[in-house]
Symmetry: C2
Subunit: 211 residues, 2 copies
Amino acid sequence: MRENYIGLNEYSSKLLENAVNELSRLPGIGKRTALRMALFILKEDSLYADNLSKALVTLRNDICFCERCHNISDSDLCEICSNHKRDELTICVVEDTRDVIAIEKTTQFSGVYHVLGGVINPMEGLGPNDLTISHLIKRVAEEQIKEVILALPATVEGDTTNYYIYKMISHLTTKITTIARGVAIGDELQYADEITLGRSIVNRLPFAQTR
Amino acid sequence: MRENYIGLNEYSSKLLENAVNELSRLPGIGKRTALRMALFILKEDSLYADNLSKALVTLRNDICFCERCHNISDSDLCEICSNHKRDELTICVVEDTRDVIAIEKTTQFSGVYHVLGGVINPMEGLGPNDLTISHLIKRVAEEQIKEVILALPATVEGDTTNYYIYKMISHLTTKITTIARGVAIGDELQYADEITLGRSIVNRLPFAQTR
């Protein structure tokens, strides 16, 4: 029947096509998943489509960034920075909001954060001035910070950024630390990569310090 | 530091939390992917959030279903049913819109469709009256259909629905067919499941008929 085929656009509806196109711009979402989402929205009560779009538009238009730590926030000062029970003299430097959420989930840190908004990456044209590093230096200089914890990704770019920050603040604060790298809890040694295993041997701790 | 931990809600922003919650209701989307999507929307121009939400709300509120084939449509008669070049006397019966899209992509079918909106599934409380089967029977009775192609999923529910439809229309039309089941093109025989391979042997074709 090939010769009798009459071409049509892919979706029987322009509205559906438009929704699929917009949804498939989201990261990790292909056309097939986008179609599944669009059909789900069609099956749900129209309240869901309303709530979802309101949530997204409000998020995009009303979001603030904390004046102090640059984390995503609903107001000029984020919940963490405005919480007086947090240790304001210990700053944990992270790449983005997801790292803040991940560290908060551990419930092991009660200091405050500084969100860089990225790491130094010349290949992507990201230099120190595109990040919030100068504000971090100002905070460390003015606020008598006790400790700066560098919690950036263990990549070349993360290490470069660590080193750059270290050079800029080492004369301003007494203690600069980085998070521990090593074999993850629950992992078998034989499956750990060589570099991680190597580092975890070099940076071994007195047994009494571990829990 | 565990004892000094001061609890916070998971996301530093209620707006972000709300967007993540709404996004994670979509099928196949967990909290982590939803967060990634929300942060992507924040990084994009605000025009994207506007376009996406407009597309979703319009989809939900303005979509129609074709009066004739029940496919998703922008108007009372879908593009396929209103295209006079299509063979209106050959109806392909499918479960939902995704099947129409998949068959259209093959460019091997120039007839029209009938979208059931599901298959008979007593476990989920879906009986013949919840589907568009009675309208299909009416179409077959009134429109002098030449052929009805049953293209439902190869599941117990699909087979039940096939049989139900067959019983209801077998006295009304001359030809009722189902799509071929067999070893997929490009597949090795040894990896095909037994039932599929068995059916493809039983339903073998004269060599000259294959291409």
